[in-house]
Structures are given as structure tokens and as C-alpha cells.
Amino acid sequence: MATLDLNKITKSFGTAHVLHGIDLAVRDKEFVVFVGPSGCGKSTLLRIIAGLEEASSGSLVIDGVDVSAAAPVDRGISMVFQSYALYPHLSVFENIAFPLRVQKLPEAEVQAKVGRAAEILKLTDKLPLKPGQLSGGQRQRVAIGRSIVRNPKVFLFDEPLSNLDAALRGDMRVELSQLHRDLAATMIYVTHDQVEAMTMADRIVVLNKGRIEQFGSPMELYHHPATRFVATFIGQPNMNLVPATVIGAGAEGLAVEFHGGHRMTLPVDCGSARAGDKVEVGIRPENVTLGAGLTMKLRVLERLGGVSITYGDMPDGMRFCAALPGDTVVKEGEEIGLAINPADCHVFDANGSVLRRRMAPALAA
């Protein structure tokens, strides 16, 4: 059992306010990913959980015990650093054994625990080597091994894959997800890479400018982004945001008109939206097909094989991106028509808040 609760955590460095009252409840055995752009405060939040930074105010509760003032080692957490933080002068074995040596455990117990961790991480034949003799992925696994042997309540990962090349990153994502299942431990993982967040997380915390924009499952964030920020941050390629004017709000949804004159009725809860309001309609590139509707002049075509990403300009100069099937016959410079299903559209008001979609896919609990 390991739950983690953050209550109104704030952090300031001098006059710079980095975190503004973070409230968060992480469930037992959950894999939670903190994601956000550089400087959003995600690493600071992780360091506060680790005990490497002190929160300016607020409390941190692990398993029902307030550990806000506890030393890192007394919190029952372990941390994997972005740089791996391996001790270059120690062998792989001693690196993994480090926390056990600190605890002055008997040699037999150290041997057994390190051996088990090495087995899980497929490092057994690397134990006598120095970190300098390992590849990036192996070093990463040693760092993970060091946190496994402590048998912590909560694992913390600070951008652990950002120093690996793309192919290895994909492999390690799978391995980490597997590890999470095998260890059945609570894990908190910081990244700026939304792919890592989407693929590994049970739930994602999207942070922006020191505030939580949204906390939910990956598909919840994808289908029901709470804000414009989350909508553009989650999903690849980024969501298109097309300005439109409200021309009517009714039971069937929100009727809008785009700059080119194209009109649509979008099935969303209208809230306080009134005719004449300016809104932004969010359209994911993958929800667009060739057909009648909006038009754009195709500027760049990226053929990825299974999918062709097209970038173009709409008549009013707005940039637009559409992900079309791989073999779609289009040419750069061509004017193409884009069909959009109203049910796939997201609508954001002038404040960037979303109008709730009615017809989004049902969510897995």
C-alpha cells in the first residue's frame, strides 16, 4: 500500500513562484506521469516529493503519514535521476548495493537483494563492470536497480529516458511499464515528452506555469482536454485551433461560422456561450478526411508510410495540419477540401476553457 497526497503545495525561489498550490491524490500502485513544458514546475514538484527541496507551504502525505518535514530517506521513496547519477568509481554491483551499504545490511542480504534486482533488470553479467563500460540503456537499468533494492513505497523518476536515443527510448518505455506491473509499486514519473506520458501513465498530471491544468487518464486527456493548453499539449501532431464565431446556441449544440463562411453545429454543452462570441474550434489532425468542408492550400507533405501528414494554409492564412491515410493522392501546392465530423470537434471559449463534448467516446474507468 502506498498512496501519496499533496495538499496545497507551493514553492517560491525568492520572488519567483514556481508552484501555486498543488493538490493531488495518487492511488496505490498507480503510475502517474507529470508532464508539461520546460519550466512548468514538474521537476521541482518531484524534488519536493523526494525531499530534495522543501515546499514553501503545503503538506505531503505518504501512506497516511505526513512526511513534509522528513528527511528523504525516511519518506520511503527512491529516485532515478535524469543523469542516472551512477558512482563512476564503483562497480555496477556496488552502485546497486549503495543504499543497502548505507543501511549497513549484512553481506548475505546485500548479495541476495542486488542479485535479485540484477536478475529483474538483466544485469547479472554486468555486475563487476564500472558504469563507464556500459551503454546508456544499461546505465539506466543500473540506476533503476539502485532504487529497486530499497523496496520503496514510491518510485520517483526524473526524465529518466531523455538521455537515450529514440529507439532505445521506445524499448525502455516498454520495460518500465513491465517493471511497474511486476513490482506493483506506486510510481511517479516526470517527462516533457507527451508520448512517454500517454504510453506509460495510468493517469497524467499536465502542469503549466506551476498549476495543474488537468489530472486524468491518457484517453480522458485526449478526448476531454479541460483546457486549450492540454488540448494542444496532448496528441501528435498538435491539435488545430481554428477561430470561429458563435452564431447560435441551442439544445442540439453550438452553431459556429468559420472565417471562410463554412458553418457547423457542434454537439457540445453551450454553457454561457452566446451568438457573437469568439471561440476556437479544436480539430485533431487525425480526425480530418478529404471531402467537402474547410479548404486549405497544401504547403508541405510528410509521408510517414501508414499516414501522410499535410501542412497547409487556410484561406484566411491560418495554418492547418491534417493526418491523412498514407496513400492519399495529394500534391504540394494543391487546394484540398477537408471534411470534419462535428462530433470530433472541441470548442474553447475566450478563456481557453473547454465546452463539454457530448458525443466523445466512452471512457475506460
Binding site: 528523504p72 527512491s78 529516485m79 535524469q82 547519477a85 568509481h89 564503483l90 549503495f98
Partner: protein
Amino acid sequence: MTDVVGSKSPVIAKAGRRGLSEGWFAWALIAPAMLFIGVIVAWPLAETIRLSFTDANMGGENFVGLANYEKLLHSSKFYEIIGRTFFWMFLSVGLKLILGLIGATLLNAAVPGRALFRVLIMPPWVIPIAIGCIGWLWLYNGHFGIVAGMMQRMGIIDGPFEILAYKNSAFYAAIVTDVWVGTPMVSLFFLAAMQGVSRDLYEAAWVDGAGRWYRFRRITIPQIMPVIVSMALLSAIWTFNSFEIIWILTQGGPRGGTTTMIVDTYKTAIGNYKFGEGAARAVVIVVLLAVFSLIYLQILNRVNRKYGVK
């Protein structure tokens, strides 16, 4: 475009080679350095070795073979000086390393005004040794010096005590001054090495429950070990050959109590005009230091391998 450039460049390279062959060009490049080393190092060294086989003095010189060395070998006083020199070296270097390590650790600590302390540690090293030593002469003065004064106040001595007038006290006083001069640089080297240690290593150890002393012992020391070993070697050579401090404080006295090999060499060659015998002593110093350095470099290699430095 690239084709044209590609076809032209080999021609240019050939033209350059026609003027001077590659071998001669290389010699021309290192000639200034060779000349410099020849004049400053090689020639004086060769001349010293030659002189050591003569009885050179103010009156002239005659070849005497190994006579100077034989005389040294049979002089019990010379062995005493060698012993004193190594004792001087090990004690002084040991203290410099320990104090340097403590100093660097304090200077590396996140305390307010750290930058100021880093400047304040410099004077012993920055001010000319002669001036520093004259300051120490005053400190050690039996009647007016603060050291003797404090000892009197504390009841350790009864009356005025001329520290530099007795063999033992003069020797240790010279050690103190030598350590005072040598520690700042050792500290700065260690500090630089400590700052090169990644913060993440300390944080990782902290998260794993390692206390300050544990982190110092298992991270800081191993991480800066190559620097400690190199610094120990350099400091050992400088201390072995440390001349000014002893000469200004005691001129090797009282009764030879602070005479190290370098002081002995100076007194023999320059003080008594026995250039031949002095040269023989200098050659012995070179041989001893060369052997010492060789052993040391072996240790350094092993340390570097052990601590993962390539």
C-alpha cells in the same frame, strides 16, 4: 561547385609540401621548444653532472672521478640530512593535504559569503614568500613574537623563548610556515576538483540515506582521488626542494637542525665554494626525486584505473 573545390584542394596540398619536407617541417615546429629546453634544462643538468666528477672550486677544477660521491656515501651527516629531508617532506605534504582537504570542503560548503572566503584563503600563496617569511620571523621572535607571547600567557613557557634557536622548535616552526605557504594552492586544486563532482551524485546518495560523512567518504574522496594523488606528487617535489622558507627563517640552523638536502647543497656549493661536491649533492637529489616520481606515477596510474578515470 563541390566538385571544383574537391579537385583543387589536393593540388594546394602538394604545392605546400614542395617547399619543405614533412619531416623537416615538424622539426622546424618543435625547434624553439627544443632550444628552450636545451638551454634551460638539459645543458645545466649535463653541466651539473660533469661538475660532480670534479673538485671544482674558486681555484679551478680537476677531474676526480667518483671521489665526491664516495665522500657522500661515507658521510653519516649526509644520511642524517636525507632522513631529515624525507621527514620534512612527508610531514609537510601530509599536513598540506589534510588541511587543504578540510579547507576545500569548507570553501565548497554552501555558506553565505563563500566567495569572500575563497579570496581570503589566497594571501599566503599570493604574497612573495620572502615577505611572508619575514612576517613569520616576527611571529617566532622570542621577545616580541606573538607565538612565544601566547605560550607564556598560557603558562607553557616561563620566560622569553627564541623558537628558531632550538633544533626541534626551529624545525617544526619551519614546517608550520611551509604548510602555511603551501596549503592555499592545494585547497584551490581540491576545491576545483570538488566542484567538478556532479550534484546528482550527492542528491542520489542523500535520497538513499547517506549522511554527510558517508557522502564525503564514499563520493567526494574517491571522485577527487586522482587530483589528490597528483597534488601529493607535485607538492612533494616542491616541498622537497623548498629552499627560501628555510633559508630565510634559519639558514638551515640551528646546528643543522633545519638543513634539508637542498639547503645542504646550497651551503656546500655556494656557501663554501665547493662546486664539485655541491653538484654531486644536486645529482643525488635529482636521482632520488626521479625514483620517487616513478614510483608515484605508477601509483597514480593505478588510482586512475581504480577510480574510473581514463
